[in-house]
């Protein structure tokens, strides 16, 4: 009986890639990776009662260690790199575990939480090793002569490693060590009285837990193919904790179930966009209210399940878990036509932020931007008789979620093209995959030059090096200003501008006098502003997002610092930060990439406002939705020119032949070999709370 069940289980796991669509192979890999982390975390929390909120940190260490080794020594077999990642993480676990022995409960949770933040900071600052904010591409793994290039190959690697680790964990829990750990959980005093060396076993749990998570990290690096500090935020640690609590503390099968449930849930909810956290939260709350102790303990309580020997119970739980999984999979597997173009419809979509730090932008560029134009053109009869339909998934600004969503869009929904995904790390993480599958990536809303000149990419937002060139040429060239400083956001966006500023200033034999960074979601910028003031710059660049930028302006007002010109970058120059800063914004200048969405008289912008009033009367016009609207407009233009026989190739060819296209919003667009659609901006100054245009469109060639 047991052998039959095990054999069935093994057959399902092995046959999985051949029975399901490609996307679910990738998803299954993620589930299994998370299951390894959950088992590792459960060995710590479930067995010795030490709750950790820092396992995303361990995952990051394992992932980066394996990736760095693979970059430096490409010939190394993948399992060796993964093992190395695990060992490095275990060593860190030991270093953290020993001092943490003195902490318990809440204090341990806080210490591990802090550890998670510190790991991300370390990754950011060791940028010579980790490429910091830019993120790191992980080379394809090799085992001997084979390259693990396909999702299926990587899936088998993940499953094989997981099988080893699960067997090890099950065996560990049945040995003297496992029983000692359980004894520690039940009562530390009793365990000690029975001769269990508390310090040794608690440290051991920490080390083993870190090892499991580190190995999972190595697999994560290979499966996702791109690492960035954004992947390992504190919410990922919280997800891991949710997995073991929902699954059941102290149960290995529970860890697997919890990982499967949370991962598939997160994935199938991505399509609910803004509702995703609401539904996810509601499920967490109700499941904990009605299933205290998690799924594992709820299954144990099912009448008829009765007091059975533990082995049978575990097996039946695994089969229930696979049932749950299958259900989730069939729920999210929707039928779709080929390649996203039918006789009546064109399907486009993208992964974007509908939760996380950039939610507002994400909602505006998609639902009130692209969709606004789609409604306009659909009501006018569509493009060659085809209506535009859009589909978006939430990635919460995490690269791994963006990869998962993009695979789902291409393989499940079969979208024709990806439109306006947001943020450098999530977009860059999907570049290789989209190129390999020859899917057009249209107008990504990010400013890292990595997207320039790629065959299947048409860049949207003006890239940071072009913005910088226009700003420095105008200020140092035309206005002859000499002393520059910058206040920048400590991420990819801020750093790419900083590098570009330094390069462009060097052309004028100038340097940045000072540069200070602020974190996203900062509470107080007084120290940074004070430090910049001591450098006495004539010009202070603000490379920030609206909130912190407005804070910086108000801080300047607070200390009465008047003898510097504050200049905002292209992505920042918008009405929002004017509104937030109030009278502190007076006299601020900036490079504007878009005409004023509220007041511009350009015909295209007027139309945009009319359309907004008609379709979304409650939504105020703003630069984000204008950018999305423009993306929709440009796509429609390309699709129109490609004609009735619309293919991905004909679309790209149509775009490449675009010359001097008048949109009524931006200057005439010609798409050259660099594949950039936007290259210009104009200078503005804030006068009486509004942007006043000071120059015509500036050149960045």
């Amino acid at each position: 009986m047991r052998a039959v069940a095990l054999a069935t289980g093994a057959a399902v796991v092995v046959g999985w890639p051949w029975a399901v669509p490609r996307y679910f192979v990738f998803l299954a890999s993620l589930v299994v990776i998370n299951a390894i982390v959950a088992i590792g975390l459960n060995l710590l929390s479930g067995y010795t009662n030490q709750l950790s909120f820092g396992h995303a940190g361990f995952l990051a260490i394992g992932a980066y260690a394996a990736a760095i080794v693979l970059v430096r020594a490409p010939a190394l077999p993948a399992p060796a790199a993964i093992l190395l990642g695990g060992l490095v993480t275990a060593a860190v676990g030991l270093a953290l575990g020993v001092p943490c022995l003195r902490l318990e409960g809440l204090y341990l949770a806080m210490a591990t939480l802090a550890f998670g933040f510190v790991v991300v900071e370390v990754i950011l600052n060791l940028d010579w090793l980790t490429r910091g904010n830019d993120g790191m591409h992980v080379p394809a793994a090799r085992i001997g002569p084979w390259t693990l290039a396909s999702d299926t190959a990587r899936y088998y690697l993940v499953v094989a490693v997981a099988a080893l680790l699960i067997v090890a964990a099950v065996n560990l829990s049945r040995t003297r060590t496992g029983r000692a750990l359980l004894a520690v959980r039940e009562s530390e005093i009793a365990a000690q009285a029975s001769g269990v060396n508390l310090a040794v076993y608690k440290t051991l749990a920490f080390v083993v837990s870190a090892f499991y998570t580190g190995v999972a990290g190595g697999l994560f690096a290979l499966v996702v193919g791109f690492l960035s500090p954004d992947s390992f935020d504190v919410f990922l640690s919280v997800d891991f904790v949710a997995m073991i609590i929902v699954g059941g503390l102290g149960s290995i099968a529970g860890s697997v179930i919890g990982a499967a449930v949370i991962t598939t849930l997160n994935d199938s909810l991505a399509g609910f966009q803004s509702y995703r956290p609401l539904i996810f939260g509601a499920i967490l709350v109700t499941s904990m209210l009605f299933m205290p102790g998690g799924i594992a303990s709820a299954l144990r309580k099912i009448p008829g399940a009765g007091p059975r020997p533990p082995l049978t119970r575990r097996r039946s739980m695994i089969s229930r878990a696979s049932l749950l999984l299958l259900l989730a999979v069939t729920l999210s597997a929707l039928p779709a036509g080929a390649q996203g173009v039918s006789d009546t419809e064109i399907l486009i979509g993208g992964s974007n932020s509908f939760s996380g730090p950039l939610t507002y932008t994400g909602e505006q560029i998609t639902k009130y931007g692209v969709d606004l134009y789609a409604r306009v053109i659909n009501d006018a009869g569509g493009i060659h008789g085809r209506k535009i339909r859009t589909v978006y998934y939430d990635d919460a600004y995490r690269p791994q979620d963006a990869v998962a969503n993009t695979k789902k869009l291409v393989e499940q929904d079969k979208v024709f093209a990806i439109i306006i995904p947001q943020g450098s790390p999530p977009v860059v993480a999907t570049l290789a995959y989209l190129d390999e599958n020859k899917v057009p990536l249209l107008f990504p809303y990010q400013s890292s030059p990595e997207t320039r000149g790629k065959k299947w990419v048409l860049q949207g937002m003006t890239l940071s090096d072009r913005s910088s060139k226009m700003m420095i040429d105008y200020l140092a060239g035309q206005r002859k200003l000499k002393k520059f400083a910058a206040l920048y956001q400590d991420d990819e966006y801020g750093k790419s501008f900083l590098t570009a500023f330094e390069k462009d200033l060097a052309r004028y034999n100038l340097k940045l006098l000072a540069a200070e960074s602020v974190k996203r979601g900062v509470m107080d910028v007084s120290a940074q502003v004070a430090k910049l003031q001591t450098a006495k710059p004539e010009v202070t660049f603000l490379v920030l997002v609206p909130g912190p930028a407005a804070q910086a302006l108000r801080e300047r007002q607070k200390i009465g610092w008047t003898d510097t010109l504050m200049v905002s970058t292209g992505p920042l120059t918008d009405e929002k930060y004017l509104a937030l800063a109030g009278d502190a914004a007076e006299g601020v200048e900036g490079l504007s990439l878009w005409p004023d969405p509220l007041t511009s008289d350009l015909p295209g912008v007027k139309l945009y406002r009319d359309h907004m009033v008609r379709y979304f009367p409650k939504n105020e016009p703003n630069r984000y939705s204008l950018a999305g609207y423009f993306a929709g407009l440009l796509f429609a233009e390309g699709a129109k020119r490609a004609g009735r026989n619309l293919t991905r190739e004909s679309l790209m060819a149509a775009f490449e032949s675009l010359k001097g296209f008048e949109s009524g919003i931006l200057p005439p667009i010609t798409i050259g070999p660099d594949h950039e659609t936007q290259k210009q901006g104009f200078w503005v100054r804030v006068e009486k709370g509004r942007f006043k245009q000071l120059t015509d469109w500036l050149k960045s060639e």
Partner: protein, 292 residues
């Protein structure tokens, strides 16, 4: 760095620190009563501030009325969440309650986004942003106002805990729940009151900080700093929460002044790890060291 700058940066840090302290206090109040961390504390602050702001917009009410509306909404929200959700799970393990408050925080943030969008909004302040010059030193009334208001609130809370029946009951439950029950204290009432008081403190903190960091669904993230502040001061201790908050606010501001940029953002966390390892009970705490 001139003394004037230093004073300004420290005062600014104390203002932020006051908010951390208030956040820590509300977390500690709930922790003392129910031994659980409330992950939704920050989101409750955010939602009540949004409600107050709506009163400003819709009723064209003065700011003081908005504050009252925010406080009332917050008290109601705290009461309902405790009665409807948390109390049902109180017999379960603390881990379960942790996940419940986590779920609540996701729900609150998402619902607030649906109601008010995830945009950022300016929020009026009781205090001016223009500097007051005292000799060479410039201080912003907004910083002083936040510090003053927070201190007043802390004193009121101190009086409540020290001298009122409810305060004594809350302290008794924090010390020993079973003994408190045996002494005839209604532990359920203490749960309820703790959630209400914590929510009210949060709402006031929200209205104080919204003009500085602006009103948005991201505001709730301040709770993370509140956790840190609580741990710095020794979780469970109210004076500790105040000291921890102020310490964190000032440290956060001094670090960028003196440290290279590569480590300055880690300072709060490094300090926390260090304090946990050296003085696990926090700077004011006196938890007995365990030998293992």
């Amino acid at each position: 760095m001139t003394t004037a700058t230093l004073v300004h940066v420290i005062v600014s840090g104390l203002a932020t620190g006051s908010i951390y302290a208030l956040m820590a206090i509300s977390l500690v109040i709930i922790y003392n009563a129910t031994r659980t961390l409330n992950f939704a504390q920050g989101e409750m602050l955010m939602v009540s501030t949004f409600v107050g702001w709506t009163a400003l917009q819709v009723l064209q009410a003065p700011l003081a009325v908005a504050l009252l509306v925010a406080v009332a909404a917050s008290a109601l929200l705290g009461f309902i969440l405790e009665r409807v959700v948390i109390r049902h799970a109180i017999s379960a393990t603390h881990f379960d309650v942790l996940i419940i408050t986590l779920g609540l925080s996701l729900m609150l943030r998402s619902a607030a986004g649906l109601a008010w969008t995830h945009d950022e909004f300016p929020f009026p302040s009781f205090f001016s942003n223009r500097p007051l010059a005292v000799g060479p030193i410039r201080v912003a009334p907004v910083s002083l106002g936040i510090i003053g208001a927070s201190l007043a609130l802390m004193l009121a809370l101190g009086a409540l805990f020290r001298w009122t029946r409810l305060g004594r009951a809350m302290r008794a439950v924090a010390q020993n729940q079973r003994a408190a029950r045996l002494m005839g204290i209604s532990v359920e009432r203490v749960y309820s009151s703790s959630w209400i008081i914590a929510s009210v403190v949060g709402a006031i903190a929200g209205v104080l900080i919204a003009p500085v960091v602006f009103l948005s669904t991201k505001m709730g993230l301040v709770a993370i700093n509140g956790f840190t502040a609580g741990v710095l001061g020794g979780f469970g201790s109210l004076p500790g929460a105040v000291v921890g908050g102020m310490l964190l606010g000032v440290l956060e501001n001094l670090a960028p002044l003196y440290l290279p940029s590569s480590i300055k953002h880690s300072v709060p966390f490094l300090v926390m790890i260090t304090i946990l390892l050296v003085r696990p009970g926090g700077v004011l705490g006196h938890v007995a060291r365990r030998k293992v």
